[in-house]
């Protein structure tokens, strides 16, 4: 039997449905990721106004029609539109990236308290301007950790040798989700991971983005490694990363 549900949620994405409706994907602290039809959302601005724009934090009333049935949005009231994000093109790109990244690692109605808090905190940061490249890497590591895919970086997956010990080039084994020391990595096709990049990830985990600095070459390697880790779990590249790449090129 249909029931009315009240919740507060952030708009993750939206797509058109038919002539005048929209399907909105939300992230709620209590209900996780869910989708709802917003009837006549494109035709009438009166009913939902600007509450269903990307990144908006809204108070919702939805009709839950039961398992495997699309919910229907009855009412939406804006709590925070994160309007300042919309005044900076790079901040828009970053907000799109974090939204897509968090949504991609969540199943419908998975437990999502921590993911919601991470998204909400990041959107508040983005109200002040774009994120630093170090903050973006920390965000990626955080999302991977929340999804249970935190890369194993402390020691060699095969022999247990402590990372940062010894000379030579270590490698990242994408199929096993962690690093391999020089001797265990030999003979396999893995992605090289220099000691500097390991130090960067360790510093990020221990000190956060504030106390971490890194040279551009190391950042480039860290970015491409994390992108590959994320893509290998998702099985496809994120569209918003492609958007950021295009923005960086102009």
């Amino acid at each position: 039997m249909p029931r009315f549900v009240r919740t507060e949620a952030i708009v993750l994405s939206r797509r058109d449905l038919g002539e005048s409706d929209r399907i909105i994907q939300f992230l709620s602290r209590e209900r996780g990721k869910f989708s709802a039809v917003a009837p006549a959302a494109r035709k009438s601005r009166r009913r939902f106004g600007g509450c269903l724009e990307l990144f908006c934090y809204t108070r919702l009333r939805v009709v839950d029609k039961g398992p495997n049935r699309l919910q229907r949005l009855e009412e939406a009231v804006l709590i925070d539109g994160h309007d300042k994000i919309k005044t900076d093109l790079v901040a828009i790109g970053h907000a799109g990236y974090v939204s897509e990244l968090i949504a991609a690692f969540l199943g419908e109605e998975d437990e999502a308290e921590s993911s919601f808090d991470l998204l909400s905190a990041t959107l508040h940061c983005l109200d002040q301007g774009p994120l630093s490249t170090v903050s973006l890497r920390l965000l990626e590591l955080s999302v991977l950790s929340l999804a249970g895919f935190a890369p194993h970086l402390g020691s060699c997956l095969a022999c247990g040798t402590e990372s940062l010990a010894g000379e030579g080039m270590w490698a990242y084994d994408h199929s096993r989700g962690g690093i391999l020391c020089t001797s265990c990595a030999s003979g396999h096709e893995n992605q090289n991971i220099p000691v500097e990049v390991q130090c960067f990830f360790r510093s990020l985990r221990q000190q956060g983005s504030e106390g971490t600095s890194v040279d551009p070459q190391c950042m480039h390697l860290a970015r491409s490694l994390l992108a590959k880790i994320i893509d290998s779990y998702l099985g496809k590249p994120l569209k918003s990363r492609e958007f950021l790449r295009k923005l960086a090129g102009v």
Binding site: E53, G93, E100, K239, F243, K246
Partner: protein, 196 residues
């Protein structure tokens, strides 16, 4: 049912808002009308497909290139109104408030669709900014995608030394304040202007 009818129903069903029942009703309507109507309809569809193309200057759909708007010497050549799609151009044109030129982008930047500057007609717009253009009005939608597009274009157009303006956002004509959402009202207040 005759094969020709089924084929036409199948094609009509691909149109927006047309389902099986509506498509069937349309086919029966065509069959019950004088034969001239069916021939004229088929010819009109063929003409639209063959003759209508984007104007090479502004991107408007037209049978000529440049289109009638670009070629009209009475229009103000010093102002270009930038819109996302041709339907938006028609909406601005129907307001009868604007007598300048247009530029149709063919979409908007979209972070979640990975749609970047190379997928809209931004470079074509910058190429049009000759000495006679004084102002570019950005009339992209008030969505995140529309704002992202406006921010990107503003940067590119200002580099060319041309004044950039953005269409106003706020309370619709006939709208009552108590029913306006917070975001729209905030925009209306921040964009207020002195009464003349």
């Amino acid at each position: 049912m005759a094969d020709a009818m089924q084929r036409l129903i199948g094609l009509l069903r691909q149109l927006p808002s047309v389902g099986e029942k509506t498509a069937t009703r349309l086919v029966f309507h065509i069959l019950s009308s004088p034969p001239d109507y069916g021939h004229a309809l088929a010819q009109a569809v063929a003409d639209v497909v063959e003759r209508v193309h984007p104007c090479r200057r502004c991107g408007n759909l037209s049978e000529t290139s440049p289109c009638s708007l670009c070629a009209d010497p009475r229009r103000d050549q010093s102002v270009i109104c930038v819109v996302e799609k041709v339907q938006d151009l028609l909406a601005v044109e129907n307001s009868h408030e604007y007598r300048g030129l247009y530029h149709v982008l063919g979409g908007a930047l979209s972070p979640l669709e990975g749609k970047g500057p190379d997928q809209i007609r931004a470079t074509e717009l910058v190429d049009r900014l000759g000495s006679e253009v004084r102002e570019v009005i950005l009339a992209t939608s008030a969505s995140v995608e529309g704002e992202a597009t406006a921010l990107y274009l503003k940067k590119r157009i200002e580099q060319a030394g041309v004044r950039v303006s953005r269409i106003a956002s706020g309370i619709p004509v006939g709208g009552e304040l108590e029913y306006i959402d917070r975001g729209t009202l905030a925009l209306a207040l921040s964009g207020r202007r002195e009464m003349s």
